[in-house]
């Protein structure tokens, strides 16, 4: 194995890099655009050819760049004879197509896009043939599907173009998925994803019990890509693409990728019975069927498309034979098919371009009007027919020779007979292409009067036709290339001799029969065509569309039944599925042994538990009474806080109880605008169903919780406990975790909370400016409103309590690092202290005294926390590394100064701002709804209550 493959990744990348250029260069004109497409292609070709001597000598050039070694994925490339042959074909034909497309595309077509897509596709193809890692190969394989989708659908305004592109993507994409599976199996069998390893492990693969699944899956990928029966139908529909695309995709590249893959995998997979029967049979059927349909196609490109299908079938069949001679024939035919088929596609494009039609029945007599095009087309088509002295003849003879001694289920004549029929049909459609397009008298009803195109357009097919004749007359010039590629395919050391005259062999008679039969077919074409048109035959596109239709209606049915706009249905489905999944997981077993005993239950705890359960049941049973259930839900929160205290979680208890308070306030405020009762509307059946789901979910969660409460497991908290004081400077481990160990999490969480506050504020603004505002203004609250809205006692009490409450908040904040408390709790406590003022003295009075905007509080909180974290960078530490020290000021005790406290200050501000913003927004709605605001506190005189009522009654 040689090295010096440093160029390989560069070669593979060049088209992708080049793809960036045409879109820009189109501004400099069409010639510049085409030139800059050709440059990367030509450069890659030159770099490739520098390796030619080494590869010819049998060296394999490799280059590996480690990418994701854990997955077995590396960007490794290798170049052997087969890869060299295909790479030269891809780049060489790419150059010719670039030239041809420059003249083919009209001024209205966006040429920059075209060349960009072309280079992307070229890069993907090149990647396939140069990849050494099959995972990398799969990536490129999918890229060809995607980029060919763009190319086939290039004429976006044509519905056929879009449909053809979709069909190609669906079929080749589905095949690609199957192939991923196959490749993964293959990699598992061998234990490596490197092609060089896989190719060397052929015996191991064939002996594996996974051989057949892997083979079928990989072949699905290859068959879909190479349009083999029954997946052949996408290829003719892809003909809606511009002709340069068809010429490129369907002669040299896209459809040959499947053939390439079968050739590449030949040493690893071929030579077994399943391989022969699957590959050879599918190839044989495709060859005959494609040729038969091609004979009756009137569209020039459709004829060529089915002819391509047929020839791909021929190649597949040859590879399926599994013999070395057949592999040589296949490699040789790959070269020959490329030369004549690309030339023919370009000829068809020229005819279309000049006459504005591709319908054979409207053509004829073009030989006199377009002599150059006619010459090129005729010569290439004769090669397709397999007439002697053209290169198509040589490989077809080799194919017939191989077929003549192939047994199919012990049957000696079926393969040769069908192969001859395929060849015969092939002669038929080739001759029809020649005589019905170029032959016959000149007509005067062409849609556009034709003449030969500019030189740039016929130069590329002419070059290919020269190759057709050169190889046809002097086959030995292709010998080194065929030897190089065939040796790479088979892994053997072969020395094939290509010659025109093989002596009197069965293949000669088959050839003669094919040519004579083909000529008869041409003569009889008119009556046969009439019979064909009358005969019923399955239309692949209709079947495909029906399948897609079924898939779509199936998907729609699933969506409509499960996703019908009823949230309660989604939730029911979700909960039920979760419960079932949990049950299935539990039946899987694997529960470790019980390692923990039960803690005793003191009577007080038992009472709390009963309260909790009773409150929960009460909430569920009386949830229609909204106020009542809200009061009772407070009991649950209180009991949970008490539970946290008992179970050694003082921080949680503090947080829970303060969150409880603001939650109830929030819900009370909301309930002010909502209906006070829930109507009874779900039928009994539904309630029973929901009850069953709820019991299932509750039982499942309880069982799960009980199961793990009795079992120990390894925890990572020992680290936190050990380093809390030494590393974080605090004895309250929970707080140190929040502001130090997991400070990044906390930082994210205060941002989330801040965003939630802003969302609520924004929603409120939208509501007040929307149609709801009118409704709010007209709300009548006179029935359920206390007349003394700001009772004297409450106003005075809250004013007195305010400084105390704030001090409690500050105290909780400051002690947080060492004792239960901290920024979260302090933020909530201060929020509650402020909310008391709102409730007691009224919205207007409080707002008039507000000094800082709540938005700003959130912002400052996040900024302070972020800057504290970033400050660690200045000291050269990672984000949020904390520093601390102890300060001793004489009058007070020694205390600690930690950057973590600064971070906690940010937490405090953000939490406080967010909570205040949320409740403030809800209160503002109330204010908007016409609630009067006290100008002064206690401006309501209770003594005037009677007079007020009298006044109201008068109105």
């Amino acid at each position: 194995m040689g090295d010096g493959g440093g160029f390989l990744p560069v070669i593979a990348m060049l088209p992708f890099l080049g793809a960036l250029v045409p879109g820009v260069m189109i501004r400099a004109g069409r010639n510049a655009c085409a030139t800059f497409t050709a440059i990367p292609t030509a450069l890659a070709l030159v770099m490739l050819l520098t390796h030619l001597p080494a590869v010819m000598a049998g060296e394999v050039i490799t280059k590996e760049i480690t990418w994701l070694p854990q997955l077995g994925l590396s960007a490794s490339f290798f170049l052997d004879g087969l890869g060299m042959l295909f790479a030269v074909m891809i780049l060489g034909v790419g150059l010719l197509i670039t030239l041809y497309a420059r003249f083919y595309l009209s001024g209205e077509d966006p040429m920059g896009q075209f060349y960009t897509y072309l280079l992307l596709f070229q890069g993907a193809m090149l990647g396939i043939v140069l990849s050494n890692n099959i995972l990398l190969l799969l990536v490129f394989w999918e890229l060809t599907s995607l980029s060919s989708f763009l190319l086939i659908g290039y004429w976006k305004h044509l519905p056929e173009g879009r449909q053809g592109a979709r069909m190609a993507l669906t079929v080749t994409g589905a095949g690609g998925l199957a192939m991923i599976g196959g490749m993964l199996i293959l990699g598992n069998i061998v234990g490596s994803y490197e092609l060089t390893d896989i190719l060397a492990a052929g015996d191991q693969i064939k002996a594996s019990e996974w051989y057949l699944p892997a083979l079928i899956l990989i072949l699905l990928g290859a068959f879909t890509k190479s349009a083999q029966f029954p997946f052949h139908f996408w290829l003719p529909h892809a003909m809606a693409a511009p002709t340069p695309v068809s010429a490129y995709l369907h002669s040299a590249t896209m459809v040959k990728a499947g053939v390439f893959l079968m050739a590449r995998m030949w040493p690893a997979l071929a030579g077994t019975e399943p391989w022969f029967y699957i590959v050879a049979t599918v190839g044989l059927i495709t060859m005959v069927l494609g040729a038969l349909i091609a004979l009756f196609k009137d569209d020039l490109k459709a004829l060529l498309a089915f002819s391509t299908v047929s020839h791909l079938g021929l190649l597949t069949m040859l590879l399926g034979f599994g013999t070395e001679a057949a592999a040589i024939a296949a490699v040789f035919h790959i070269i020959n098919h490329l030369t004549f088929k690309a030339a023919l596609f370009m000829t068809a494009g020229i005819v279309d371009h000049e006459t504005h039609t591709r319908d054979i029945k409207r053509l004829g007599g073009l030989a006199k009007l377009m002599p150059i095009t006619a010459t090129i087309g005729t010569l290439a088509a004769l090669s397709m027919a397999g007439i002697p002295l053209f290169n198509g003849f040589l490989s077809k003879e080799m194919m017939l020779e191989e077929a003549s001694h192939t047994y199919w289920f012990e049957n000696p004549w079926i393969v040769p007979a069908l192969a001859t029929i395929g060849a015969l049909l092939s002669v038929g459609y080739s001759l029809r292409f020649i005589f019905h397009t170029f032959g016959g008298p000149v007509r005067d009803d062409y849609p556009h009067h034709p003449h030969d195109p500019p030189r740039g357009m016929w130069l590329a097919p002419a070059f290919l036709t020269v190759l057709v004749i050169l190889i046809g007359v002097m086959p030995w010039i292709a010998e080194p290339v065929v030897t190089m590629a065939a040796n790479a395919v088979t892994g053997a050391d072969l020395h094939p001799h290509l010659k025109i005259w093989h002596g009197v062999t069965p293949a000669l008679f088959m050839s003669i029969a094919a040519i004579i039969g083909g000529a008869i077919l041409l003569v009889l074409h008119r009556p046969l065509d009439a019979a064909w048109l009358r005969a019923p035959r399955p239309e692949a596109k209709a079947i495909f569309d029906r399948l897609i239709g079924w898939a779509v209606s199936g998907a729609r049915w699933v969506t409509d039944t499960t996703h019908n706009g009823a949230i309660s249905r989604y939730l029911a489905i979700f909960v039920a599925v979760t419960v079932v999944a949990g049950f299935v997981a539990w039946t899987g077993g694997g529960m470790p042994d019980v390692t923990r005993g039960l803690l005793p239950i003191p009577p007080v705890v038992a009472i709390g538990y009963v309260l909790l359960v009773a409150a929960t049941l009460a909430v569920v049973l009386m949830h229609r009474n909204r106020f009542g259930s809200l009061v009772i839900i407070g009991i649950i929160g209180l009991m949970i806080s008490a539970g946290f205290v008992y179970l050694s979680a003082p921080d949680l208890a503090l947080t829970q109880i303060s969150v409880e308070t603001v939650t109830i306030m929030l819900l009370l405020l909301a309930l002010h605008f909502l209906p006070k009762t829930t109507p009874k509307e779900s039928p009994l059946g539904l309630r029973i169903r929901d009850g069953i789901i709820a019991l299932g979910a509750g039982g499942g969660v309880a069982a799960l919780a009980y199961a793990f409460l009795l079992r120990d497991m390894s925890v990572i908290s020992d680290y936190h406990l050990a380093n809390s004081y030494d590393g974080g400077g605090g004895t309250n481990v929970v707080n140190v975790i929040l502001v130090d160990f997991r400070g990044y999490d906390t930082y994210g969480e205060i941002i989330v909370l801040g965003i939630a506050g802003l969302i609520i504020f924004a929603l409120m603004e939208a509501l007040l400016n929307g149609p709801a505002s009118r409704r709010l203004r007209n709300t009548d609250y006179s029935q359920d409103r206390s007349r003394d809205r700001h009772p004297l006692m409450m106003v005075v009490a809250t004013r007195v309590m305010m400084p105390i409450a704030v001090m409690v908040g500050v105290y909780i904040f400051l002690r947080g690092h060492n004792m239960p408390g901290g920024g979260f709790v302090a933020g909530l406590v201060i929020a509650i202290a402020l909310l008391m003022q709102y409730m007691a003295s009224g919205f207007g009075w409080t707002m008039a005294r507000q000094q800082i905007e709540y938005h700003a509080l959130i912002g400052w909180g996040v900024v302070i926390a972020g800057l504290t974290g970033a400050g660690a960078w200045l000291a050269g530490h990672p984000f949020l590394t904390s520093a601390f020290g102890y300060v001793h000021l004489p009058p007070i005790e020694e205390f600690e100064l930690a950057t973590a406290a600064l971070f906690d200050l940010g937490v405090f501000l953000a939490v406080n701002g967010a909570v205040m913003l949320m409740l403030y927004s809800l209160s503002r709605i109330a204010r908007y709804a016409g609630e009067t605001v006290n100008i002064d506190p206690m401006d309501y005189d209770p003594t005037s209550r009677l007079e007020d009522r009298e006044k109201e009654e008068e109105r």
Partner: protein, 124 residues
């Protein structure tokens, strides 16, 4: 004790699940509140239960054992975040109610067997 905590989690979950399957916004909010309790206690319990072992380090150097502080830290933020979530939900359902004058949570659907008896087009 373990039985009490586990069954309390179960009761809260069952109650919350039943309530979120109701057809009006307010019971659903109550249900989510119950579910939040259940989830928070569940997460907290994943640190296993322990009494009189708060994770406040003892500086006297005595050999004291502590309960697992990590679930506590996680639950602490979860409690605060679940408040934010509840608040957003309340605001959204309030907005929906004020716009539509109905706090049904299901979009009226012609062939929806769950709420067709209450489905009102409401001019939309």
């Amino acid at each position: 004790m373990e039985i009490l905590v586990a069954s309390a989690i179960g009761v809260l979950t069952a109650g919350g699940t039943y309530l979120i399957l109701r057809l009006r916004a307010f019971p659903v909010i109550l249900g989510l509140a119950l579910l939040s309790y259940a989830v928070n206690v569940f997460l907290f319990a994943s640190g296993r239960l322990a009494t009189n072992m708060p994770p406040i380090l003892d500086k006297s150097g005595a050999d004291v054992s502590y309960t697992d502080p990590l679930p506590q830290a996680l639950v602490l933020t979860a409690i605060v975040i679940s408040f934010g979530m509840t608040a957003v939900l309340v605001m959204v359902s309030l907005g929906a109610y004020l716009e539509r004058e109905s706090d049904e949570i299901n979009i009226p659907h012609p062939d929806d067997d769950l709420s067709d008896d209450t489905a009102t087009e409401d001019g939309k």
